[in-house]
């Protein structure tokens, strides 16, 4: 079984910390760390989405298209 998830410390300016603390009051976030983790995951995921898409080789793609035509998925 894995150990408890490891955490590390990141410093943010105190006024920003206070702003976040005020903002998360009454929301589902239980701590500033939770909120910061959520936002960072969201930001990183959207950056990754913008990265170039994986492309198949032409040969590979043609082979797939042949099967799709044979099965009636493509004309």
């Amino acid at each position: 079984m894995a150990e408890e998830k490891k955490y590390t410390t990141v410093s943010i300016p105190k006024p920003l910390y206070d702003k976040i603390k005020a903002r998360i009051e009454g929301t589902g976030f239980t701590s500033v760390s939770d909120y910061v983790t959520y936002v960072l995951r969201e930001v990183l995921a959207s950056l990754e989405e913008e990265e170039k898409e994986e492309v198949f080789t032409e040969e590979e793609e043609e082979k797939v298209k042949e099967r799709l035509r044979a099965l009636g998925y493509l004309d």
Partner: protein, 379 residues
Amino acid sequence: MVSKPHGGKLVRRIVADRTRERILSEQKEYPRVDIDHGRAIDLENIAHGVYSPLKGFLTSDDFGSVLDHMRLSDDTPWTIPIVLDINERNFDEGDAVLLYHDGLPIARMHVEEIYTYDKREFSTKVFKTDDPAHPGVARVMGMGDYLVGGEIELLNELPNPFAKYTLRPVETRVLFKERGWRTIVAFQTRNAPHVGHEYVQKAALTFVDGLFINPVLGKKKKGDYKDEVIIKAYEALFKHYYPKNAATLATVRYEMRYAGPREAIHHAIMRKNFGATHFIVGRDHAGVGDYYGPYEAWEMFDNFPDLGITPMFIREAFYCRKCGGMVNAKICPHGEEFHVHISGTKLRKMIMAGEQPPEYMMRPEVFEVIRSFENPFVE
């Protein structure tokens, strides 16, 4: 643009022909591990990238992280443990073994780790219960005492009576691109379609380029529709009621876990790997009995801002006599006395009695197809 594969790269773990021949010619030299149908299907899904970024069965780090945090140890969202269990250790860590199903060698596995686990903890964390009446819990309790983690390579495809309807993520991605779909909504189902399903699917399709109906084939409960019935019923629906270039149907083999909210996330990840950008999450998605709240699966998505596929929460549809059509609770102002809810159980009873359901419940063409089967339900 279709969704990026989960974890960034579509996994394909299929050995090249020459290597395959060599491995098979040496098969007696490998320790043999026999696996059941459910694990064989998991293996197939790993090999074809349905479970990207997994390259094999979970090692203990990932397993523990999935149980405790619903993420792999590298922080990628992952909610259902994909594990291989054994009872006897006839091999060691570092060995390569061959995995067999029904006498057929289907994969080579590089054993990275053999570890023990707590079945009760597995159950309570994944299913939120350790009640043995829950089918997922019952399966976990019947599993072997050890888990084996490590990467796999597919040697042989499992026999598939529905190969014609089975598309892999690499194929759906090309298909969506060829059709010019940039946004695709996926619908997961285990049922023959009634009008309520059609309403939900078409409501979602209104907002995207394409609809991807992806029925799950595999082990079923008594009384469920048989796989071939689901496929034929959808074909009839497509032929008569769906725009040809805006919807497509392909099946996937998968063993339901009935893990409710956690499994809804898993279903969304699978469809992301097929290239879908959106995923329809229904009422009590992947639930069983009353173990989960009707909209608990919707709330679960709040935990994953980095999922990479957009859930579409569409309320249950029903027929309103006053509106004169299919509606949902959000758009219909009329009282319950005007509403007719479409119950799967009621439909089944009508079908078994040879009674045609009203058109607002089931399309006549769909009913005709179902009726053409001597027994459309699993016995």
